[in-house]
Symmetry: C4
Subunit: 182 residues, 4 copies
């Protein structure tokens, strides 16, 4: 589903009328938003995929925690489009942060449910250990949302910061996957 969300996001970049390079200029903020959201969704895609691969069993609560995460992520193309069309104005930045915060909280809930369902001695539990990155992301998103009232660029700074700390994929999971001989 993340592959689909990423792909339809490009539909928010409307083909301009006119063949001159200048007709692309109004699309620059749209394109920058697209890149940022692409990175975010790419991060979720990689980590989410790893997480589900490492899972051996699910229950009803986990299924719904997963749907909850996908709900927030499904809103990303919408808020990305709004943010891009308005060149990173205050309210779009605010809403973008809210959706990312929702996704971060949903991811945290999902990972906790998976860990507790597999037992604290499981490989998956070791892989997710104390989820420092997940927690600091939530703090930074809240800062970014609040920062939108100072200046939209404060928000942008925090959002880019979170993307940066996640760009290195979750080595913990990678290590666990590797050690299981795959």
């Amino acid at each position: 589903m993340l592959a689909i969300i990423i792909t339809i996001m490009v539909l928010e970049m409307k083909v301009p009328h006119g063949a001159e390079l200048a007709t692309l200029q109004p699309l620059i903020p749209v394109f920058l938003s697209y890149i940022l959201s692409f990175i975010y969704l790419g991060i979720y895609w990689n980590n989410h995929h790893h997480m589900l691969q490492a899972s051996r069993k699910v229950n009803g609560a986990i299924l719904w925690a997963n749907m909850h995460l996908l709900f927030w992520l499904s809103l990303v193309p919408f808020v990305t489009g709004w943010m891009g069309e308005n060149s990173f104005a205050r309210w779009p930045m605010f809403l973008y942060g809210c959706v990312l915060l929702g996704a971060a909280i949903a991811y945290y809930i999902l990972s906790r449910l998976l860990v507790s369902h597999h037992g604290h001695e499981s490989e998956l539990a070791k892989a997710f250990g104390p989820d420092f990155k997940g927690q600091i992301s939530i703090v930074f998103y809240v800062c970014g949302i609040g920062g939108s009232f100072l200046h939209p660029y404060v928000s942008a700074g925090f959002y880019i910061l979170v993307a940066a700390i996640w760009l290195v994929p979750d080595r913990r999971i990678e290590r666990t996957v590797a050690s299981s001989g795959e």
Copy 2:
């Protein structure tokens, strides 16, 4: 396919022109419709996935019963968009109920065909037992469709009620899956 239907549904939420929070106001009913349909499609996704996982064999009739279910579900983004754009007016509520009713009947047919193809002593048959939830949903949808002539909120009440009784994923299947040691 359900993942795709859910994802393209967000395209019905058009990015508003203008960066103020007020420009989002007309989108509130659209967003509420989106949430309701997201839950419905999420329910179908989880249960449908479980059902197909528990299936050991298919035949031509089952394949078409499955396409029939997907046909109704593929109409959900359209009726959701119509319902949202018209703030839950009578006829959109009526049509929304008809599509949901169609999907519920198609799901019922599919589950009966699967049970009879696997034999009444099969695990799948035990998992689906007497499908109480499926039958009560059909009754409630009919009430919701009829209720649209009294007041659209009567419909909304019934539709939300059905979503609520399904939000707990089908524990019967879960139990069977668990007991088979997966």
Copy 3:
């Protein structure tokens, strides 16, 4: 990919402005086109899926024959939209038939390549035997395309006829799959 084509086809049904039942009236031909194309794509989905399942090996030519088939099928949402918006006028009917004919020929080529690559004694070759349905479909599509110059309903008749003869999924494949104990 067929699941995606089917799903985005619903985007050609634009949500009407206005909440009255009458606003749906211009959508009736669009909806009828949608149903017809849904059935066609459903047929291809089922048969194509079976065919690939029964395949043990591929080569470059088969990969491109498969892309060729997907090319024609990817045009179905476009011609369906054009046909629906113009209430089954002559030229849209003509073009719809051309795209279906292209898909039918591509399917035929793909099945022949698969049979010859697996050897004429293979299970797959037995399953596809002399492909009567595939050949008669091509004839009927040509009749439908030519018939568009008499009256669009002549075309419609032939197109519906082809859908009807395929609605029963390919029992040959089903039998083979069943006999291999799956």
Copy 4:
């Protein structure tokens, strides 16, 4: 994800108003662009799929190299639409080449990372050997981008040339796959 990109690309071909054959005329360059991009994406789909199939293990860098490739490919529907709407004008041709060049470089990086991660004695390394096609493509794309300043058709020539040399799927991989008995 490539299947999704290919499929949504058809949405850039807007259904024309009017049922006459002449209403399709402005769509001819759009359709030609669609065919060219369909072939490109089909090439990537086949080769990318083979490459991932032949991979036994991934790491963080490979995951991001893959996302990098998908980023460039996700822009193909946009530049295809722009190129088609402007009948192969200079700047759209220029940008189309840039996106293809980005994808070609990303593919090259991904293949090098996979080879070095699997070891130079691995089957995958043998399959990708000295990647002549990948390197010549990059050269031709640069020629095509530069050629857009002479005449758009010079670009078109180079782009079609690259498609032609890739149309034969990567026999090296095919051979390796075959020899591993699949």
